[in-house]
């Protein structure tokens, strides 16, 4: 079978490509150029720097497969960067990796793969696909709990999953590195990439401001009683649960509880006030192809690095859900995803309101 591998230049997608070559597939390596890496003197971290493209090319050469760089700058800007900026300006905390997976890798890249006669797109994601039920693809967590990336894949459709392939999802990271060594890949010891590949030196606020200068507008910080306790220089600097950068000197540490972009106001309070047992989410995707008929006990994860927690999910009209956790959760941030699991199986997920 002809397979396209999305090669970022990192160790995971490199080993994914090597595995497929090893299994005898007809493998084509594709790398996405997502922004102008040569513009300015900025240092990009992350997954698509010039150095990473070089690494991808080198891996492809080692494996003896063809490799091409596709220019997706405009698509990336439309689908990922614009959303990212808009969300921060709206006082939310976005996860651009989700759109990059759904819109770039499993839409545009998948289209190209088909045009090049390939049956599927493989990536280096730590997630597993279960195809034991005919006509259905079940997304499961990666086997390595430290590396599991199923959270970032919850928006995929059954049609997209049917053409996805995750050759390292059943491996632990250490095993992936060992295999990279065994395959003779130069990237075997390459450090893991940063999450926000397109933001220069991690300065998210500056990036948002450059794209949307109007967002840098002074506003007030209020406490739970509505009293003004300070001021801020733009909601895009902040996320729910943040303590840093508030510039408040108080006897008890204060955290951001709420960001009201329309009023340009932050509400702060003590840590205990960050706890929530309930949330609602929108644009829910039931990835396995079915939604629960009524309330159902599941586990839910409210951010990538959190463990999931037992909860009850109740479907609401218009692809929304209400989630009630057994135990209070700290810092539920609008704009992040809530992803539902049944043991290892991803049931679906949505965007926190």
């Amino acid at each position: 079978m002809r397979v396209v591998v999305a090669m970022s230049g990192g160790v995971d997608s490199s080993v994914a490509a090597a595995q497929l070559v090893n299994e005898g597939h007809d493998v084509i390596g594709l790398s996405m150029q997502l922004y102008d890496q040569q513009a300015g003197e900025r240092q990009f971290g992350g997954c698509c720097s010039l150095e990473d493209l070089h690494d991808a090319r080198r891996t492809a050469a080692t494996l003896g497969i063809p490799h091409y760089i596709l220019n997706f700058e405009r698509q990336f800007d439309d689908a990922v960067v614009s959303t990212f900026v808009r969300e921060y300006a709206a006082g939310r905390t976005p996860i651009p990796c989700v759109q990059c997976n759904g819109e770039l890798k499993f839409t545009h890249l998948l289209d190209r793969a088909a045009a090049f006669g390939a049956d599927c797109v493989a990536t280096g994601h730590y997630a597993r696909l279960d195809r034991t039920i005919p006509g259905r693809t079940i997304l499961r967590r990666g086997l390595d709990p430290m590396k599991d990336q199923s959270y970032f894949l919850f928006t995929l459709t059954q049609a997209q999953l049917a053409k996805a392939h995750f050759p390292v999802g059943h491996l632990h990271k250490a095993e992936v590195r060992a295999r990279a060594q065994a395959y003779g890949l130069a990237v075997a010891d390459k450090p893991d990439s940063q999450e926000l590949c397109f933001v220069a030196d991690g300065n998210t606020a500056r990036f948002v401001e450059e794209r949307m200068p109007a967002v840098a507008q002074a506003g007030s910080i209020r406490d739970l009683g509505g009293r003004q306790v300070g001021s801020h220089d733009g909601v895009h600097h902040f996320t729910v649960g943040q303590r840093r950068r508030l510039g408040l000197s108080t006897s008890v540490p204060l955290y951001i509880l709420e960001i009201d972009a329309a009023a340009n106001t932050l509400t702060v309070g003590p840590r205990a006030a960050l706890e929530r047992t309930r949330l609602t989410a929108s644009n829910v995707n039931w990835i396995a192809g079915y939604s629960p008929a009524s309330s159902r006990l599941i586990t839910a994860r409210i951010r990538h690095r959190n463990p999931d927690a037992p909860a009850t999910v109740k479907p609401l009209p218009d692809d929304r859900v209400a989630v009630t956790f057994d135990e209070p959760q700290c810092a539920v941030a609008p704009g992040q995803a809530v992803v539902f699991y049944d043991d290892d199986t991803v049931l679906g997920g949505g965007w926190i309101d």
Binding site: I28, L70, N71, F72, A115
Partner: protein
């Protein structure tokens, strides 16, 4: 993946080294190791080889051998011509430089750099066929114009420029005339007297010579400010120990052009026409870019309606067919071809265009294979890459 046959149709990017050239160079690498500046036997041997190559280049151009400066390639020759002549003329008050808008980056970026110093630069537009007309050039010239640079043949569309007419206009205003002949040597007769130019750049790897070697021909009496300081090589115009094996290779490639150039150009013209008419008749929605009547024999630039050139290039490569989208130097950038844009092509057309450039080794069997493969590949791309896109999204790379 097993590819039965690899077909190379990207000779404007670079060409395979001719077997005769490779053999001569291999011998040179083993035997002619001397430094041409040395007094002893080894130096003399290398110097003789250098002189022979210089004579061959001069003969090809219908010029005298002492006027040929060897460089590291076409880009360096362009830099030396423009910077060298401009700087040498700086004291005369002539501070204006003119070029066409469809020049190679080696010219355009050099002019851009000079425009940040004390020079003013005017870029002349082209007509819809990609031709710089004398009328257009005339309006750009002033009494301060130091140098005009117009390429002999465009790398992307193969259009031949009316160099002699343009050069006469420049001379009438007292300006020097440089032509980048990187894409014409080996494809057309290139005679510096007939072209009436003062400076001419060429590059070895575009006509079956090695990479890393080129030459600048400089009309006698023209002052040139050396851009590399050091020894007195190349009559003080290009310091550094000469790249003897590559220069010997260049000389051998030039000799092949002198001996077989016209016959080979005729052979390639037949193949190019066969390819072009085959594509135009078997693939709907295709159109030739450039000027079919004033074009080098080997180049065909074709737009494929509704097909992203980048995808077509990759799909063809996966089937063993090597082509390019515009110039190799700008691949990977989203910038639509500056050449097609200058000709007034729509953004769609500039990003749907593929360049086929033929040369040594191509056969009619290869051409027929390409013509038979293309309709299927283009149809697949038209069906599969347009899915779920807004119309504007079909443009991108």
């Amino acid at each position: 993946m097993i590819i039965v046959m690899r077909i190379y149709l990207d000779h404007n990017a670079t060409t395979p080294v001719a077997p005769e050239v490779a053999e001569i160079m291999a011998t040179a690498l083993r035997t002619a190791f001397g430094n041409p500046s040395s007094v002893h036997h080894h130096g003399q041997q290398a110097k003789t080889a250098l002189d022979e190559a210089r004579t061959a280049v001069a003969r090809l151009l219908g010029a005298g051998p002492t006027d040929v400066v060897f460089t590291s390639g076409g880009s360096e020759a362009d830099n030396l011509a423009i910077r060298g002549a401009a700087e040498a003329l700086a004291g005369t008050g002539r501070r204006h430089l003119v070029a066409s808008g469809i020049e190679h980056e080696a010219v355009l970026h050099t002019l851009k750099a000079l425009s940040k110093q004390d020079w003013t630069v005017t870029l002349v537009g082209v007509n819809a066929s990609g031709v710089i007309t004398p009328e257009r050039l005339a309006t750009a010239l002033t009494d301060e114009t130091a140098l005009v640079s117009v390429m002999h043949v465009n790398n992307e569309i193969g259009t031949i420029q009316p160099i002699a007419e343009l050069a006469r206009l420049a001379h009438a205003r007292g300006a020097l005339f440089h032509t980048d002949a990187v894409q014409s040597v080996g494809k057309l007769p290139v005679d510096v007297s007939a072209l009436d130019v003062d400076l001419l750049s060429l590059s070895g790897h575009k006509f079956n010579g090695p990479k890393g070697i080129g030459a600048l021909w400089v009309r006698r009496g023209i002052r040139l400010q050396s851009q590399l300081t050091g020894g007195k090589q190349e009559r003080n115009r290009r310091a550094g120990t000469e790249n003897v094996p590559a220069i010997i290779g260049l000389g051998a490639a030039v000799q092949l052009v002198i001996d077989k150039g016209t016959a080979e150009a005729n052979r390639v013209a037949t193949l190019r026409d066969r390819l072009e008419s085959g594509i135009l008749s078997s693939v709907i929605g295709t159109m030739v870019n450039g000027d079919p009547a004033r074009r080098v024999a080997n180049t065909s630039n074709i737009s494929f309606d509704g097909v992203e050139a980048e995808s077509l290039l990759i799909a063809l490569d996966l089937d063993g067919i090597a082509v390019s989208t515009g110039s190799a130097c700008s691949s990977g950038s989203l910038e639509p071809s500056h050449v097609l844009r200058a000709m007034g092509c729509s953004p769609h057309r500039t990003q749907n265009s593929i360049r086929f450039s033929l040369g040594l080794g191509n056969t009619s069997g290869e051409i027929d294979h390409v013509v038979s493969m293309l309709p299927g590949i283009v149809n697949r791309l038209r069906t599969l890459t347009g899915r779920g896109r807004r119309p504007s999204a079909a443009v991108g790379g």
